[in-house]
């Protein structure tokens, strides 16, 4: 299993899909308004699940900010914390 997800890793993943630098990612932004589509969310989701996070597409998709994603990902980090 890959290393557990860190906030920097989370930022870096988002940045890759948003075509930004990690420090440019605005965690308060709405994923929809950032230009993400469901396929990208599914792809990110698969990547994060591989780190041991138990989230579903619907869980992520109904959040209204990246900060909520991070909260959710932290809360669902299965048993490692």
């Amino acid at each position: 299993m890959p290393a557990p997800l860190t906030l920097d890793g989370f930022r870096a993943d988002l940045a890759e899909y948003l075509y930004q630098r990690p420090d440019e990612v605005d965690l308060d932004e709405h994923p929809l308004h950032a230009g993400l589509d469901s396929l990208r969310i599914v792809t990110l989701l698969e990547r994060w699940r591989e780190t041991g996070v138990d989230v579903t597409f619907v869980d992520l998709a109904e959040c209204t900010s990246f900060a909520q994603w991070w909260q959710l990902l932290c809360a669902r980090r299965g048993g490692t914390t």
């Binding site: 929809l32 308004h33 230009g35 993400l36 589509d37 396929l39 599914v42």
Partner: protein, 1418 residues
């Protein structure tokens, strides 16, 4: 049922689509889940019922209120059952299951009654099950379906395990509606709108492979392919490498494929988007899906990488705005209705693999239908468990056939493979070479020989045979060649040498042929000009052509009469034989850049053409070929050289030969023409005349060659029916650039299907290629190029790289198709070029001439093909200031352009219509055919306009306004359709309103639609139209000489009584009048009354010659006793059969006795002594304009326009006369239009329908729009003409259309009434009927007539009964010879009628105008 609520926007879009075609099942979406394992059907059923009960969106009904506004309301779906079936006994259980699904899917759903879904559990093997789930798209979208499926798996699994069922976690549709309402109030909504309206502000053209739109189809074609895991992984890897998603790479490949098939510089895709991110709807099974229009500019120099990155960027910009409804955007942009659209093919990416487990058993999901397919749709499903992608390509069945779809899909997959393998190669490089169809005309029988040599051979071998004839003059081959050599010498003396150009403006004739040959013999080239061309154009062309000499009729005479020896002593040496590339002639055709262009044809091409054409269809020695074309048409090259190189005789026509088709064919017969070369437009006339019997093809004609424009299939069919297939009919096609003729088809081939008009195969020795649908010509026939420097045109001659060796080709601009038989069919032009009367017209050339007129600001010229097949040019002009007279514009054009290029109509517009991209909308103008107003259509149009005005609240909307441009929305279209349906009492489909976006178009469509499609004549009618074979001319003495006893039927009617008076005054004969009466005295009294009623004064002596006979024309033997009948047959000399029952409302059965059977009886009476029988018929037996462009003076075959009993009975009677005429009986038929009162007295025909309408309407100041125009004949003139024609010496004509005067326009009649002093409002018929008081007798009668017509279903449909042009040559000719002229039918005559009516109190005197004394009778 809960209270009704307005439909949410997403549902409204689907609902509107469904309303366009209420019986369509297209909105049924379905999928099936293949469960790999045992299924407990009872528990599955329980699970389904539970889930359905929890899915609120499935418990909604939809309706529409009185205003046409849709609503929805919650209502339990009620009882429903799971369909279960065990298909394991079927030979192919899977196929049986899919067939069952297809059948289920084809059932339309009634949204008003609920139950929008269905479920089935089909067992296809021991432990394999298919769970099929269908639902109307208004309730669930793809994501909604997946929520339901997941929930069913969860509940079923719990039930099987005996565990409690967990809460569904479903949210409510109400929360989704609230969220949507909040969104629409939010700033976000405004921002989204701004984004989209800005992105699409230029309303970009949507280019698709089909090139048109169609209403949603009920079904679709589908092709499915699965990409295996390995291929899918390559795709994903390349996408990662390009830093895009695999879906974006697939979009890029789709765009690339569409660019390859359409060449469009921008592709606009339709992307279904989930619309649920960050929304409560993520947990609500419902329908919120939206469509996102995606603009992708694309060029051949782009690589898949470029495209994918561009798409990714565009998507990132667009996705944040994905909630803004697609339908709303279309409304914002005014892209509803007609051919307008916002986006093209769809790409639907479903990244969600269902990974469902049913009680632990694996399953796979398969889509069956994704809803309606507007154009093409690429659906991509990510299959579960790493199985790779499934690509299902759907196509609208009206736009693409299965082969189109297969080609598109295969091309897409091939391109996908290529793009993934080399994402940085350009699209041009990746283009999978389409195979180019090459058609070969086969070899020449031998090498092409120089034309001059061939002609010289004939002169040497048979110099005495006639080469050319014209107007009584003829020259032999020897004389022709001598003259040509003589001219060549004289030209040399004038300094003309090889390589020079000599302009020829000689009219058709022998001199023109000598001139052509003489110039060529000198080694020079000729350039023919239209001697009748406007001087300005001629001068311009001459400047450009730079001829060494111009041979006009005058200079030609001068040159040939000049006996001066040349400036040297010896005659100049004859030039060497021309080389293939030496110029032979230059011909001008219309140019796309606004200037005519000169096509340079070399000797090689000329020789090659003559060799190929002579072999394929050319004349033989002994043929007499008509020289039809003037020199400046390249058909003259065919006529002159094919004929002279074959040793045949060219018979050049005289100018007056084409005055009429019968005269033309007569002249051909006289000139013993055996080979006819005709422009297609003229041949259309010939074919028509020959098919109707108006003229006959001379028996010596064995070959007819046509060309110049597309032959009308209808005319070809007519010709084949009338002429048969023994006369060779060659359809030729060819631009001047390919030397006269490029392809030829045998239209006399008996194997050709009706309606099929191929242009055939290339000439021997040449070839043609079809590249992307466009015809390219190849081979030795190609012209050298264009004269002068003409870069854009010159590019049409270019190497064709698609073929090995890249041979030189000419790109014709003609779109063609290769049929199954390998022959070409012409489909149209790829540019705006239009053919009219054999001229190629580039509208640009006419437009540039128009723009030189000072009062013209902007102009567009388009070619139109009218419903009857007539081609015409129309100029749409935006005037600079007040509009000048159309005649002035045309006059201006006549000074600059040849006659054929002067538009026949000039219409003024405030501005030119533009396409969404701002270009002039030529298509809109080309399809804007002249408004054919008729009573019924006029009324209908008014009704439609009124409804649209009401619905749109636009009081000023005109019938020509595009309602969608005026802001109409789908809902309003539905409202309008509802109201129209009520107003018209018939079904009006919403779809029709979208297809016909102006009131005028819709009204025409509705009128058209109501017309019955096929000839549905009563069987009894056809049986009655057969004349007993025993009715034949007798052998005994025949009636003849000056008639002494004339039988006149119908003598007491309006026409009859005037005929009676005319017969009595112009002959000394006894007039026998059969009259329905109990006794001779009563009969006599009835005739006397009729004469009195019509104020016909006769001398007593004249009256004494009337013998009234009691009779009944409805009965056998006219109700006479056997002796009376025989006596009549023995003694009478002439019969005028004028009696008829004219009850227009009666069925045929009620009229046949009086109108048809009486004619049969009279023929029986007339036959033994061959008594001339003249039959008074009606123009209404003719087919309406929609079926025939003209009404010939000939007997008419049965046609669908024979709808009323009266017409049918008269037509059947005419058929009896036709057979009588064919058997040699002396009969004539006289067809009448509206017969109005005698011009001499101004009395009116009080029983006339129109008169009754006027008499009812004038006192109330209102008149109805009834018809555009019709033929009027004053009864006194008619009687004189008819009696003259019947009693004069018999001529060749049998049928006479009494329509020698121009038609009278109803609008003019109303003008004249107003000028007389009656203030009038002109109303559509229905309003006139509504406003007219039923008080007066005339009003009551007239209204009753219309009421009765309404009751007759046949007419309530509003068919257009207008006639085409009524031919009246027979009448005109006969009356001219007889010195009879018709008094003018116009204002004065109408005023005379009014004077009479006022004097006799039939009409009130107009206010402010004292009643005048009646105009004295002549």
């Amino acid at each position: 049922m809960t209270p009704r609520r307005p439909l949410p926007p997403a549902q409204e879009g689907v609902w509107t689509g469904q309303r366009l075609d209420p019986d369509s099942p297209a909105y049924n979406t379905a999928e099936y889940v293949h469960i790999h394992g045992p299924v407990d059907a009872a528990l599955f059923d329980e699970a389904l019922h539970l889930v359905v009960a929890q899915t609120e969106a499935l418990h909604v009904v939809y309706g529409v209120d009185d205003e046409g506004r849709p609503w929805e309301a919650d209502a339990p779906a009620g009882d429903w059952r799971l369909h279960t079936a065990d298909l394991t006994a079927e030979p192919d259980p899977q196929a049986a299951a899919l067939a069952w699904m297809d059948e289920d899917l084809a059932r339309p759903v009634d949204l008003a009654r609920g139950l929008v879904f269905g479920h089935a559990l089909l067992r296809i093997a021991g432990e394999e099950h298919l769970w099929y789930h269908r639902v109307h798209h208004i309730a669930l979208d793809g994501f909604g379906l997946s929520l339901v499926a997941r929930r069913v798996a969860e509940v079923y699994t719990a039930l099987v395990a005996g565990e409690p069922v967990r809460d569904s976690g479903f949210g409510t549709p109400a929360s989704v509606r609230e969220e949507e309402s909040a969104y629409r109030e939010s700033p976000r909504f405004a921002e989204d709108r701004a984004y989209w309206t800005d992105r699409f502000a230029d309303r970009p053209p949507v280019v698709t492979q089909a090139g048109r739109v169609a209403l949603p189809g009920r079904t679709f074609h589908r092709r499915v392919v699965d990409l295996d895991a390995a291929r899918t992984e390559v795709l994903r890897a390349v996408a990662r490498d390009l830093k895009v998603t695999w879906s974006e790479l697939l979009l890029a490949v789709t765009v690339a494929r569409l660019h390859h098939t359409t060449g469009a510089p921008e592709i606009i895709l339709s992307l279904p988007v989930m619309g649920r991110l960050g929304s409560v709807s993520l947990r609500v099974p419902c329908m919120v899906r939206n469509i996102l229009p995606l603009r992708v500019p694309v060029a051949g120099s782009d690589s898949p990488r470029d495209l994918a990155v561009r798409i990714s960027r565009e998507l990132r910009a667009a996705l944040p705005h994905q909630r803004y409804r697609y339908e709303q955007l279309r409304r914002d942009l005014g892209l509803l209705g007609g051919q307008r659209r916002l986006s093209g093919p769809g790409v639907n990416i479903m990244p969600f693999a269902y990974d469902l487990r049913f009680a632990g058993h694996r399953s796979t999901v398969h889509n069956v239908s994704a809803g309606p397919v507007d154009d093409l749709s690429v659906n991509v499903y990510d299959r579960s468990e790493g199985a790779g992608l499934r690509i299902a390509v759907d196509a609208h069945p009206d736009l693409y056939d299965a082969a189109d779809l297969a080609a598109f899909q295969e091309g897409l997959l091939a391109l996908l493979t290529a793009a993934v393998a080399a994402p940085d190669r350009t699209l041009d490089e990746l283009r999978v070479r389409e195979s180019v169809a090459v058609l070969d005309g086969g070899p020449l029988p031998g090498p092409a020989r120089p034309v001059l040599g061939l002609i010289a051979e004939h002169a040497a071998r048979s110099g005495g045979s006639v080469a050319v004839e014209h107007d009584g003059r003829r020259v032999t081959y020897a004389e022709l060649l001598d003259s040509a050599h003589d001219l060549a010498r004289r030209l040399a003396v004038r300094g003309v040498g090889p390589g020079d150009l000599v302009a020829i403006t000689l009219p058709r004739g022998i001199d023109a042929v000598i001139a052509v040959l003489g110039v060529l013999l000198r080694g020079a080239a000729y350039c023919p000009f239209d001697p009748a061309a406007p001087p300005a154009r001629g001068a311009g062309l001459l400047d450009e052509a730079r001829p060494a000499l111009v041979l006009t009729a005058a200079t030609y005479a001068d040159v040939t009469a000049d006996d001066r020896p040349g400036p040297g002593t010896a005659p100049p040496a004859p030039p060497a034989a021309p080389a293939p590339d030496d110029l032979a002639y230059v011909l001008h055709t219309s140019g796309s850049t606004g200037r005519p262009k000169g096509v340079e044809v070399g000797h090689g091409a000329l020789d090659h053409f003559v060799a190929g054409a002579a072999h394929r269809y050319g004349p033989r020695p002994g043929d007499r070929v008509l020289g039809f074309a003037p020199l400046h048409f390249d058909t003259s090259v065919e006529e002159i050289f094919l004929t002279l190189c074959a040793g045949a005789t060219l018979v050049v026509r005289t100018d007056d030969m084409t005055d009429s088709v019968p005269a033309f064919l007569d002249a051909c017969a006289r000139l013993r023409i055996s080979f006819l070369d005709l422009p297609t437009a003229y041949w259309h006339e010939v074919a028509h005349a020959v098919s109707t019997g108006t003229a006959a093809l001379p028996t010596e004609v064995r070959t007819v060659v046509i060309g110049g424009e597309s032959a009308l299939p209808e005319r070809v069919d007519r010709w084949r029916e009338a002429v048969g297939t023994s006369v060779r009919l060659f359809n030729t096609y060819g631009p001047t650039e390919g030397t006269v003729v490029a392809t030829v088809a045998d239209l006399h081939d008996p194997g050709l299907a009706p309606g099929d008009v191929p242009i055939g195969l290339p000439l021997p020795g040449t070839a043609a290629a079809v590249v992307d649908g466009e015809l390219h010509l190849l081979g030795g026939n190609l012209a050298l190029g264009y004269r002068g420097n003409r870069p854009p045109d010159a590019a049409r001659f270019a190497p064709l790289h698609a073929l090995p060796g890249a041979p030189r080709a000419y790109r014709t601009g003609d779109l063609v198709r290769v049929g199954d038989d390998g022959q070409l069919r012409h489909l149209g032009r790829s540019d705006t070029e239009f053919k009219i009367s054999g001229h190629r017209v580039h509208p640009a050339e006419v437009e540039s001439a128009l723009l030189r007129h000072p009062a013209v600001r902007d102009a567009v010229v388009v070619g139109q093909v009218l419903p009857g097949g007539t081609r015409r040019l129309v100029a749409y002009v935006v005037p600079d200031g007040p509009a000048p007279a159309a005649a002035a514009i045309r006059e201006h054009l006549r000074t600059a352009l040849p006659a054929a290029m002067v538009p026949s109509a000039v219409e003024f517009l405030d501005e030119l219509p533009r396409t969404s991209s701002g270009k002039t909308d030529r298509h809109a103008l080309a399809t804007q055919l002249p408004v054919t107003r008729t009573a019924v259509v006029g009324t209908l149009e008014h009704t439609v306009t009124a409804v649209w005005r009401q619905v749109l609240g636009a009081a000023t909307l005109s019938a020509q306004d595009d309602v969608f441009e005026q802001g109409a929305q789908s809902l309003q279209a539905i409202q309008a359709a509802n109201r129209l349906g009520v107003a018209l009492g018939r079904e009006v489909k919403v779809a029709w309103l979208f297809q016909h976006p102006t009131a005028a178009e819709l009204a025409r469509f509705l009128a058209e639609r109501a017309r019955p499609a096929a000839v549905g004549l009563p069987q009894s009618l056809l049986a009655d139209a057969v004349l007993d074979p025993r009715v034949r001319p007798g052998d005994g003495p025949r009636a003849g000489g000056t008639p002494e006893r004339i039988l006149l039927t119908g003598a007491t009617g309006f026409v009859g009584v005037h005929l009676l008076a005319e017969l009595l005054t112009s002959t000394g004969a006894e007039i026998l009048c059969p009259v329905r009466a109990p006794s001779p005295a009563a009969a006599t009294e009835r005739v006397r009354q009729a004469l009195d009623t019509h104020r016909i004064g006769l001398t007593d002596a004249a009256r004494d010659r009337i013998t009234a006979v009691p009779a009944d024309l409805d009965r056998p033997r006219l109700g006479l006793s056997e002796e009376e009948f025989t006596a009549l047959a023995r003694t009478c000399d002439t019969i005028l059969h004028n009696a008829a029952n004219v009850s227009v409302l009666r069925e045929y059965a009620g009229l046949r006795a009086a109108n048809t059977e009486s004619t049969r009886e009279l023929l029986r009476l007339a036959a033994p002594r061959r008594i001339p029988l003249h039959f008074v018929s009606t123009l209404s037996v003719a087919p309406p304009l929609a079926l025939a462009a003209e009404v010939p003076e000939a007997f008419l075959p049965p046609h669908p326009g024979l709808r009323y009993g009266y017409q049918q009975s008269k037509w059947a009677a005419e058929q009896l006369l036709r057979q009588a005429a064919e058997r040699g009986l002396p009969v004539t038929v006289h067809r009448l239009g509206r017969i109005v009162g005698p011009a001499a007295t101004g009395q009116v025909n009080e029983r006339d329908f129109l008169w009754n309408v006027l008499r009812a309407g004038i006192p109330e100041g209102i008149v109805p729009d009834l018809f555009e125009e019709e033929i009027w004949t004053p009864v006194d003139h008619l009687a004189e003409a008819l009696v003259r024609l019947c009693l004069g010496p018999p001529g060749p004509a049998t049928v006479f259309n009494h329509a020698a005067t121009p038609p009278v326009r109803l609008g003019d009649v109303y003008d004249w009434l107003e000028e007389y002093g009656y203030p009038l409002r002109r109303l559509p018929l229905d309003r006139w009927r509504a406003e007219l008081q039923r008080s007066s007798g005339a009003a009551a009668t007239t209204l009753a007539f219309f009421d009765a017509r309404d009751a007759d279903a046949g007419d309530a449909t509003g068919a257009d009964l207008r006639l085409g042009r009524v031919r009246a040559d027979n009448v005109v000719d006969a009356l001219r010879t007889g010195g009879v002229t018709c008094p003018p039918v116009g204002r004065e005559l109408v005023h005379r009628y009014l004077d009479h009516c006022v004097t006799t109190g039939k009409l009130p005197a107009p206010a402010g105008r004292r009643s005048r004394p009646a105009t004295p009778a002549k």
